[in-house]
Symmetry: D2
Subunit: 140 residues, 4 copies
């Protein structure tokens, strides 16, 4: 299945349906092999000590897999997160963006599964990984 959007088109569409997303996340790259997303780290994403918070990492992983689903299914896509596993491996570096590399592992009729690896920008050491499952409601 080909892509329904290019990176800019998907970013514009996501800003339209989730206005708050546009401030927090950007798409660096999108192809049939996967997506690279960026958490534009601001004060509201930090916890004491200046590192990115767990909920912000969850949000990044979640939006990355959602973007992968939209990139395939296009504008009519409805999908809700049903399951998440998340492993935190290393403390992210303070004051830097978090980069998420996402891949769609499965795109079935009713379930999509995506895998996300997250890094501090400029580092190749994994900060966290996540797998997200989205349920795709039947078309009516």
């Amino acid at each position: 299945m080909g892509l329904a959007f290019d990176a800019r088109g998907l970013e514009a569409y996501m800003a339209e349906i989730f206005p708050q997303v546009a401030d927090d996340f950007g798409i660096d790259q999108l192809s049939e092999d996967g997506i690279t997303m960026r958490l534009k780290v601001a004060d509201r994403h930090l916890r004491p000590g200046g590192t990115v918070s767990g909920p912000s990492m969850f949000a990044l992983a979640d939006v990355t897999v959602y973007a992968l689903v939209l990139s395939r299914l296009g504008r009519k896509a409805l999908a809700v997160t049903t399951n998440c596993s998340l492993d935190f491996m290393r403390k992210p570096e303070a004051g830097k963006a978090i980069i998420a590399k996402g891949q769609l592992l499965k795109l079935g009729r009713s379930l999509a599964v995506g895998d996300v690896h997250m890094f501090t920008e400029g580092s190749d050491k994994l900060v966290a990984r996540s797998t997200m499952t989205y349920a795709i409601p039947p078309e009516r």
Copy 2:
């Protein structure tokens, strides 16, 4: 192992170390059997449609298990989330608080595991469940 804090004492201590937490979360009840926490839902926790967002549910589960760990280990506790599983079962009702009931499943020397069930306030239907693992660094 007994409790190092009562509900009000733990709430005050968490507000001291995580000032932003005090606005978002409150402790309804704390005993040796578990904890009941509340997400004080505000606009920043919502997604389009008015229901509580995934990251806010993650944050609630995370803080609930963290509170359980602190309630046992007291002020000197350091602990970082290493793993999370999260299942979303039902859409939360719009405009209501989310209530989390948490239980410590294990409190070992280096790992603590807690389980959280989340409900819309006033309902007994499960909105989401989560298990969180915290690593407890060795005392120096």
Copy 3:
């Protein structure tokens, strides 16, 4: 939704569709509130040292949630595991049965989610916990 089987009826049905299951697992109790299953521990379930192996605990959790789904949906039910999270908390005691207490957290049209707590028989200390998601294919 009521129960489609009682404990003996469900055990008999499972033995019919999964003959190998009958040797390994038994149903101690079944009600609308949940199920209690038993792993009849034999040499093939053990790892060096005499404790029950991880794969045997996985199998117990999986069959417990499958039994919960069958207990509601009855003989025509088809369901496949799509996701599992599993936390190992304590070493099971050698030479004893493992008891699993399972609860259905959700039974939707296309997904069922169940939670399982596992104990060494006669102990109330949690050995492991698991959440399993089953996909229920649309009826044709």
Copy 4:
């Protein structure tokens, strides 16, 4: 950290400490980048219909990450599984081996995390994925 074993040495060591493992699993390849393991599918790994069972896939993922940990820490390594997430994406093909490709995501002082992708031999379609966390007890 370099490798403590090559593929044949690790296979021999694992056969020594887990004799039953030698019948079920083989190491196809081992390098600093990861490991490729094989489940030598036999009748005892199958479920009705002839496809590989969930517990056998769990066992393959578990042994793959254990092998990765041993490959780094060597003979004196002790490690126990503490957490597992497992997603089943597609039915494996009947009558073929399952190939697992594993990578160590983290090797810390007290926790190791590995990621495993599983395929039917000869196919590049993902059958299942798993992340396993092992706790490494402190040296005495």
